[in-house]
Symmetry: C2
Subunit: 109 residues, 2 copies
Amino acid sequence: MKNYIHSHEAVIEEVSPGIRRQILGYDTNLMLVRVQFAADAVSAAHSHPHQQVTYVEKGVFEVTIGDEKQLLRRGDCFILPSGIQHGARCLEEGVLIDTFSPAREDFLK
Amino acid sequence: MKNYIHSHEAVIEEVSPGIRRQILGYDTNLMLVRVQFAADAVSAAHSHPHQQVTYVEKGVFEVTIGDEKQLLRRGDCFILPSGIQHGARCLEEGVLIDTFSPAREDFLK
């Protein structure tokens, strides 16, 4: 396993309109993914068994978790227990750092 | 458990000279911590059983993992398997996003 990942070495993949994903680092129980959003891009409501913690590196996002919506900005964070429904709308172009436990093996296929 | 953490709500703690830690979000198996480094600040070599993935949000760091040293900059990442010795020196003022699995219960005391 590599211990160092330089940004230019990691593939950037467009996963839906205006959303580009870069898997940066992972181990069995942990994965860190950088996700760039264009303004107005939407990550539709979904859920997964993995725990998730996401950090807002840049931009403004309206984040829906269960029945609640909040605006998050640079330096803010959200926490998703296993299985909770969630989605995000980008209000100002930005970047989310998504982290998962265990690693999202579905992202590696 | 709170799902949303706004940056201004999370305590910032000076953990060693020039290093300030802000625990942003955690669940049982996952923790995300923002660490601000002044130039020349050093995180001394240490190890822990937790898996760790760290993202460089800002700045330049010389990161030592086992016997190897590399320079990492904004957008780069490093991956630490359980138990590996590691340390970092900040060359230009910056921020690391440290993520751990499981959560660092020692940080919560």
